[in-house]
Point group: C2
Chain length 267, copies 2
């Protein structure tokens, strides 16, 4: 990899950014594919975000932006069009400049989980229990519905948030039975998209119901491999398939790289 005057730019904007892996991951992707481009981290506070974004997209050689916390909602105003899943989630984590100079926004936070899950099982016709209806939960729910889940049960301490997500999902995916509140039904897929599990002594995010070898358990919480969340520990004890936060991040990379590469092809 060598940076020169013709190098195309991508940025990941967030606050903080020192921990982000995208600069090394996508810069390596570009190099492997013979694309003269780099991704750099761009640190912008909430107060500086609007000015920073205006400046970045004013650069003629900047082709895309990834958006991380806390800017995923604010970034939507920079998109001239939004994918369906971005509309459902109400947030984006990727912006791509099109050939005509306009910007397309998309949300890949759910794609990472679903593509990781699909490596071990099909989502089609599955019954899902989802803890947490914030940005990550909404993104995962939208992607599961898009991939054919037959029902999704939403659990969140904020009833308004859970109901709003149910309504958005039902509007876009009428074939999927979306409901709020865990009534102890049987589930094929259980996903934790809440923050429960981040602390060492956290328990389960709620009652996951019966877990067996056919179950698929996902947890967005990023933990050191040696100290998984209580939900992941329970899943492994019952021989279930597990998708961790690390798996979800890995699952996003190909999807986002493809999103950026389609722009290259002029599609």
């Amino acid at each position: 990899m060598n940076i020169d005057g013709a190098t195309r730019l991508y940025a990941i904007i967030g606050d903080p950014v020192v921990q982000v892996r995208s600069p090394s991951v996508y810069t390596a992707h570009f190099a492997r594919n013979g694309i003269n481009a780099v991704m750099v981290a761009a640190q912008a506070s909430p107060a500086a975000f609007d000015t920073a974004m205006r400046g970045l997209i004013a650069l003629g050689n900047l082709d895309g932006v990834l958006i991380t916390s806390p800017h995923k909602v604010a970034a939507m105003t920079f998109a001239d069009r939004l994918s369906t899943r971005a509309q459902i989630v109400g947030a984006i984590n990727a912006l791509r400049r099109e050939a005509d100079g306009s910007w397309t926004g998309d949300m890949f936070d759910g794609v990472g989980f679903v593509s990781a899950a699909q490596k071990v099982t099909s989502i089609d016709a599955k019954r899902v229990l989802l803890f947490g209806c914030g940005g990550a939960g909404a993104a995962i729910a939208a992607e599961l519905a898009a991939q054919g889940a037959c029902s999704i049960t939403l659990v969140d301490p904020d009833a308004h948030r859970a109901n709003a997500l149910r309504d958005a999902l039902t509007r876009h995916f009428p074939a999927c039975d979306v409901n709020v509140g865990n009534r102890g039904a049987a589930y094929d897929v259980v996903v934790n998209a809440s923050i429960v599990g981040m602390k060492d002594d956290d328990g389960l995010p709620g009652d996951p119901g019966a877990i067996g070898a056919q179950s698929l358990i996902g947890d967005v919480v990023l933990r050191p491999p040696a100290t998984p969340t209580a939900l992941v520990r329970l899943a492994r004890e019952h021989g279930a398939q597990v998708v961790t936060g690390q798996d979800m991040h890995a699952g996003q990379v190909d999807a986002i790289a493809g999103f950026f590469d389609r722009q290259k092809g002029g599609q």
Copy 2:
């Protein structure tokens, strides 16, 4: 060199930028010195320049900006303080973020010539003839005066521009005898900072006077080594010391790297 979330950013902003060498030169400099930083090219049209600059300096992990054509004058508004030479030239090509968040502007276009010249001779007490009083000429004149040139004769088809530069130089360097118009006096140093020589069939930028082995001849025009300018050819025929446009660019790198590195040290 590996880009990650902690990588500090530098940008060179211009229009166009595909030809700039600074991204590879300074990124290599950072890598050699164990500094986790890269310089990227940032293409901004004159209409986009203000927005782009505001965005770049809003990034908390961006430490410096180089400015190239056509933005060197417009960039001054982003400096909270200016070096003396930048004030004389009325343009900057480098901005550095200080520890307190303010921005210092400086102009290194003249430093490149003078540091290259000083590798072959001292500037102190030298009589200088300078063709061209635009940005490059003003930068070189200011640096020559700062290094002790005893006289500088300015030649430019635009008398107003030549007079304005004479006045600025005299104000800042009263010990240097600055005058306008070539009266055929004897000169130790002859510098072409005009565009004469860019075209293949260009002649001399004016009468350089007597040239001998003790003369130092400089020419900012970037030409392929095989087809130097008429002034450089004449200088070589007379066995004079020569500083080419390539030499000047090389001479800038150390000075600018030092400018950026001083920030690192918190000075």
